[in-house]
Point group: C2
């Protein structure tokens, strides 16, 4: 379908960070024009949308989440990490099955599109169901099957990871990745096998790195190397690797990651909530590392709002470094959009509003009190707005959310099915 969105303030997140009043024209799922209305090509379109002076921005790219964990939102909060995992999360997750993951994912996708997310990157089990739900909904996704061998099930999981590559091949917006869970759950031998699989499938590697101080320092005790140092010694940094969290990485880790083009998936809200700490994001960026941001799962966030993460990552860097100039609004937007696309290897097709890219975008209603007075729409978007301002979310030209409603399913059915699954998972 062809669509022309008029009367907008376009935040492009292109290389020049251009923002301008104008319009966006979409044809065949592709952005064919973004710029001033006066210079727009004269095209017949199936639908014209009036943005009413609102923002047209790239959709958010949520680079690290576990979408099915929406089923466990609010179930166990304010607990110590290991108590939380061992006594609440893992027992519930042990009851997961394909149906639960499918409906948990649908719930999460409904939440994500309502907050302007057009692409997500996941690491979990039952990943075929995550892929199926993403395809059913029409959202873009990079899905990594979790691999760990601490329980002796490594090769079985590796096979499941391999299966996913075949499973997603007919899903146009879904790609598979491989997800070695973390240094403390994956042996060096298994990491090497993962590396070979990633080479074979040409896939990205999605891994948790140095989320907590304990995890980081115990790796040094075990191996005489940081997690990043260990992965480097195993050859994994030669492959496209996405490192979630990175709260405790060293300066040397950062230098190595910049050299090897390893990308960071920072989860500021989850890192606070679980008591992990605050990642040194500005230092990473100064070192040359590509930093994206993400919500993590809803069990540790407790929502999937990239709008909130975008605000938080900026505020935290200003506050912790005592420098209010750090991470200005335009940088926060890049972290939440184009940097995420780069992290996922999708920067050629999404992450910014530029002619030739997929039409993955949002329209933000700026008529509310939080956008008044209209001094600076970019500042309002980052520092004042909220998910509730999202008027429309489009992926590849398809509208997945508009005026408070998802278009790909019955929200009441999704909530009911997800709630039934939760009741089963958390039964005691």
């Amino acid at each position: 379908m062809s669509v022309r969105i008029n009367n907008g303030y376009v935040i492009t997140a292109n290389a020049q960070n251009a923002c301008m009043e104008g319009c966006v024209i979409v044809d065949g799922g592709i952005i064919v024009y973004a710029g001033s209305e006066a210079l727009a090509p004269d095209m017949d379109v199936a639908r014209t949308i009036d943005a009413n002076g609102g923002i047209i921005a790239p959709g958010f790219v949520n680079t690290h989440t576990h979408v099915a964990m929406n089923l466990l939102r609010g179930y166990a909060d304010d607990m110590a990490l290991m108590d939380w995992l061992q006594n609440s999360i893992w027992p519930a997750e042990a009851r997961l099955d394909e149906e639960a993951v499918y409906w948990g994912t649908m719930l999460a996708i409904a939440e994500m599109v309502s907050g302007g997310i057009t692409c997500f990157s996941d690491m979990y089990n039952f990943t075929e169901q995550i892929a199926k739900a993403a395809n059913d909904a029409g959202i873009r996704a990079l899905i990594a099957t979790a691999v760990l061998d601490i329980d002796g099930q490594g090769d079985k999981r590796l096979q499941k990871a391999a299966d996913l590559f075949d499973f997603v091949k007919d899903y146009p917006r879904v790609e598979a990745a491989i997800g070695p869970h973390a240094e403390y759950t994956v042996s060096p031998e298994m990491f090497k096998k993962v590396g070979k699989y990633a080479q074979k499938f040409g896939s990205r590697i999605h891994v948790h790195i140095s989320e907590t101080f304990g995890e980081h320092s115990e790796c040094i005790e075990r191996h005489g190397k940081t997690p990043i140092g260990l992965l480097n010694s195993l050859g994994l940094l030669e492959l496209p690797l996405m490192a979630a969290h990175c709260v405790w990485i060293s300066d040397e880790d950062m230098t190595l990651m910049a050299e090897k083009d390893i990308t960071v998936l920072s989860c500021p809200g989850s890192n606070l909530k679980l008591g992990s700490g605050i990642a040194r994001v500005c230092k990473m960026m100064d070192t040359g590392v590509n930093v994206s941001c993400a919500t993590d799962g809803a069990a540790s966030n407790n929502n999937l709002s990239m709008m909130e993460e975008m605000t938080l990552i900026s505020l935290l860097q200003k506050g912790v470094n005592h420098q209010p100039m750090l991470m200005p609004a335009k940088t926060a937007v890049r972290i939440a959009t184009i940097n995420g696309a780069k992290a996922l290897g999708l920067e050629q097709i999404t992450g910014s509003i530029e002619a030739g890219k997929q039409a993955d975008l949002v329209i933000i209603d700026t008529s509310g009190v939080r956008y008044c007075p209209k001094t600076n729409l970019l500042n309002h978007f980052v520092y004042s707005g909220s998910d509730a301002d999202v008027k429309l979310t489009m992926v590849g030209g398809d509208i997945l959310y508009e005026d408070g409603k998802i278009t790909f399913g019955d929200i009441e059915e999704i909530k009911a099915k997800a709630s039934q699954q939760t009741a089963r998972l958390v039964m005691t």
Copy 2:
């Protein structure tokens, strides 16, 4: 008007932190019952509201703000503090007049009630207009006229502060306070005069304390005392004093504040955004200090969402202290409600849902995806919800906001008038 709100989950914030399924009955502006529906008194009421399983909570008490600064939202962000003040904020504020402050306040009140705030505490100039707007809208307010003498205008301002006490006497929900701005703008002599005024009027004192490291350490250089130590030496801690920010107060300051019953108005979002730092809120509370939370002005936040501040103050304490058990959801709710009422000396009339108190409350719609699955409504309220979930805001039994609309004015007129004022203030 009498109202019965049925089918709710009541978060009382009473001394026992009780939460229960039930109803709330309001008569003559007063809560006459809160508890199970089965035990509710059989009363004729003018209106019955179905909360539809949603939350009924005390309205938020926003203890430190400068509401008229809504006019400068987004005007100057990502700047160093003194550059921001000297080159952006102060020149704009120099053009403020009564009309600007009135409409800026109305805009802020519209925003606050849409986010469930039922009471605010302000410090600014042209405070008669703030009081008038609060009274026109029907919101509860404690308004302090800013007093400083660094420019030689101290006695004039002190007179204005005195005038406000007379001005508000016919406004049932508005009280006056006196607001010596900060140690670096108010001389010790003027602080003593302020103390005498506060005694004379029986009023509270609202002051900025140790917001930045520079301010805190320069006071020690000047006086050999911290700002709190200085105020103690001037006798001001014997009076009911509300200390905003307190990011850099010492352990000794905390002990003194606990002894003297001095209350903290913590502004976590503003403190991050301006690069001031992160207040040691849990340490303060462990020492026995009453801590409330607040938005500060919209020029440094950039919105007036207490929902966001409630979440943030909890997450920050967990994250910075590396202890996810710190500041659990029930404590965050207290900080945003009853602790705020205590800070303002209003805990006998507001801040919790208890029979005999003013009906200052909110109804939260829990039918959205962020409240699904319904594992724990208290956790969802603190960690997942947003202002957009506020369905109704009531002050003293009067509904000020319902289903997306304010009831005390025309929102389009308020936005237009405020925007006109902003255009005048920021003209270059």
